[in-house]
């Protein structure tokens, strides 16, 4: 998948996701805002209630999306036969899309009424989604190949060296500035902190990097570096800083990611178990939607 196709791929997710959500909000805003005790008397109740045509349809669709989203990602990731079936990154993006929009549909299926055993499933789903967002952030912190394989420390150092070389040799960065960059991106500053400190550092460094890049651009301008080069230099420096941070926090993040799995997966399992119970009960009582 080239870059353009990938952009279309991601954009279509955004467009479908956002427009679906907006459509549901606009259509049902008045109904969902109606207090639960009087909602039955709202004219939209017959369609938007959890057992209504649209309401139940959202439930069915949302559930299918979640099942599909989880299934395809798990299969791609764990079944040997599919290990080279497209980039894992793209499958992850599809997983995120389906498992974000699916819960949104389920949310509207509930009509914002949370009760009974199925509520456990809902809140599990919520936990899975929220942990998924965190997981997505952690995932980014651990450098992977495009196939999803974790890049080793040696290779990371080599890539970092390569960036330093580009700055010095290709862009002829002034020595004063180069040395300052090297100092800022020194791996010594990380020293594999513990989980709590690591997260705090991560957040601090995220905003610190932005400040550094801003100051760098100012310095480059003073040093009369051509404008066309300034942008490239800033990009390389930013990559270098992130690289150094990731290298520095790699162990911490890898440890954190293991913990994350403990949260994300069980909630997903709990959600699916209760969801299937809910579906089974619903079908048993004759609420089969269009089927």
């Amino acid at each position: 998948m080239n870059k353009k196709l990938h952009t279309i791929y991601i954009a279509s997710f955004f467009i479908v996701g956002i427009s679906s959500t907006l459509l549901l909000v606009i259509n049902g805003y008045q109904y969902y805002n109606t207090p639960l005790l009087t909602r039955f008397f709202n004219p939209q109740d017959i369609l938007l209630k959890p057992s209504g045509f649209i309401g139940q349809g959202l439930g069915v669709l949302g559930s299918l999306m979640m099942i599909l989203g989880v299934a395809i990602y798990m299969i791609r990731k764990r079944v040997r036969y599919f290990l080279h079936f497209g980039y894992l990154k793209n499958w992850l993006e599809l997983h995120i899309f389906l498992c974000t929009l699916g819960p949104i549909f389920v949310l509207f299926h509930t009509a914002f009424k949370f009760g009974g055993l199925v509520a456990v499933s809902f809140w599990s789903m919520t936990a899975v989604v929220l942990s998924g967002i965190v997981g997505r952030f952690l995932y980014v912190q651990i450098p992977h190949t495009i196939q999803g394989q974790i890049i080793g420390m040696d290779e990371l150092n080599a890539q970092n060296e390569n960036l330093s070389h580009q700055l010095k040799e290709v862009y002829n960065l002034p020595t004063r500035i180069f040395e300052e960059i090297e100092q800022i991106s020194s791996l010594k500053r990380h020293n594999s902190p513990k989980l709590k400190i690591g997260i705090a550092f991560l957040i601090k460094d995220f905003f610190g990097t932005k400040s550094v890049i801003h100051n760098l651009k100012h310095e480059l301008a003073l040093a009369e570096v051509p404008k066309s080069k300034r942008k490239s230099i800033a990009k390389i420096v930013k990559t270098k800083l992130i690289f150094s941070r990731r290298i520095g926090l790699l162990k911490t993040m890898q440890k954190f990611f293991r913990y994350w799995h403990v949260v994300h997966l069980p909630f997903a399992i709990l959600m699916f178990v209760i969801m299937f119970i809910h579906i089974a009960v619903t079908v048993a009582f004759g609420y089969r939607w269009i089927f």
Binding site: L36, F40, G116, V118, A119, W123, H278, A284, F285
Partner: protein, 525 residues
Amino acid sequence: MILFSYTSNVHAQISPGNLTFAHANLEGLSNCTKCHVLGKQLENSRCLACHTEINAMINQNKGFHSSLGVKNKKCWECHSEHHGRAFRIINFSPDNFDHSITGFALDGEHSQIKCQECHQDKFISNSLFKKRKDTYLGLSTKCVSCHQDVHQNTLGNNCSSCHNTIKFKPAALFNHNSDAKFKLTGAHSKVECIKCHINEKLNGKQFQKFVGLQFKNCTPCHQDVHKRQFGENCIRCHNVESFKEMNRNSFDHSKTRFPLEGAHLRVSCTNCHGKDLLSKPKFTECIDCHKDAHFGEFTVNNIVTDCKKCHNVISFKTTLFTLAEHNKEGFRLTGAHLAVSCQSCHFKKVLRQWHFMKIGERCIDCHENVHGVELTQKFMPDNKCESCHVTESWRTINFNHNITGFKLLGKHDSVSCNSCHEVKNEAGKFTFRFVSLHSNCTTCHNDIHFGQFNSEKIKKVSVCENCHGFDNWRPVNFDHEKTNFPLKGAHEKVSCFSCHKKITKNGNVFIQYKLRDFKCATCHA
């Protein structure tokens, strides 16, 4: 698991929400199928299995749940569940509820009252609903289920056949003429109901009686003011328009001893029989009913002359007293009196009364003496006009003029009396002069000689008879020989006017007959 235990509805398990208070006893996993049918969602049969009272009403095709728009609905379409304890499973709004679909439309006064005025325990007849709190079921559509039967079941229970819902009184739908055996005719239609249907007590309660009233005859309602004197068949004489208006078609007065004739036919019964018609008047004499309009003039020795002698029943003013009878009574009507109306003599205009007796028989009792002092006792003794006049005509005079000392000779005998006796007075009106009229010729005639022949004894009085007679104006009594100038010779053949010429003296033109100067030269040149 933390979230699982955190959920407030753990005990509700797979329930999508709390049931209402009414169904709270059905909470719990084991109770789901009491309402839900596996594979078939919800069915009315499950609801109606518990709500037997509704089921019974539907089976009887009665009430709101049997109405057209409701009957074929699913229960859950109106009565949803699992929305929490406080959810209004019966979303009833008294202000917006269309009561007509219950089979009992609220109209008239019913539309103005509050629900609770009817929907009360005491009005619920169905024992299934009697003890239920806040129920709107169980009322009968019969009026008596809410309203007291003031007729105490004497009129059945179909109240709406007479009453509408707007007002209980009067019974607007009741038509006495079509719904009752007794038709309201005439004055009956204007009488208030209470006049016939009186209030009485029944079972210790105030009660207006509408059935069981006797109406074969009038006396159950009307007082018999005749005290059964005329029997019970009132309509023989009366009709329904008015008690006082006799039923002339059925009452035949001619069968009584006093048949009504003439003007009596037009007289109101009460005029003779009194206001209550109880009076049985005497009818032998007219004055038994009528006032004596003649003020006793015809009462002789306390016996009133029978009115029939002069009047009949057609009209009081039409008299039967003929001229022949008038002439027998003393004052004979002759001449012009025959053509005169009675009132000319008998109606006294000042008193405006008729008088027939003692009105006098002399002319001056009726006529005015227009002559006054002009006729003395000699000519009109005892004011008797008939000494000159007759009844045929006022102007026909029967008078011997010779007794006046002025004989009517010659032409005087043929002239009308007025020529001499009717003169204009100073006011220009004609008056009669008799005794004040002089016998001198110049009283009536003009002296064309302007005093030439005035008497020497009585100045200013001409002595016409010396020359003139009474047949014409020729001077038949004149003899020229007896004058101071006898005519002789040629003077005998000369025309009078040769010597007696016209002269003008004091503005008067006349022929001078009295000549003083007899000299020849006076006439001859």
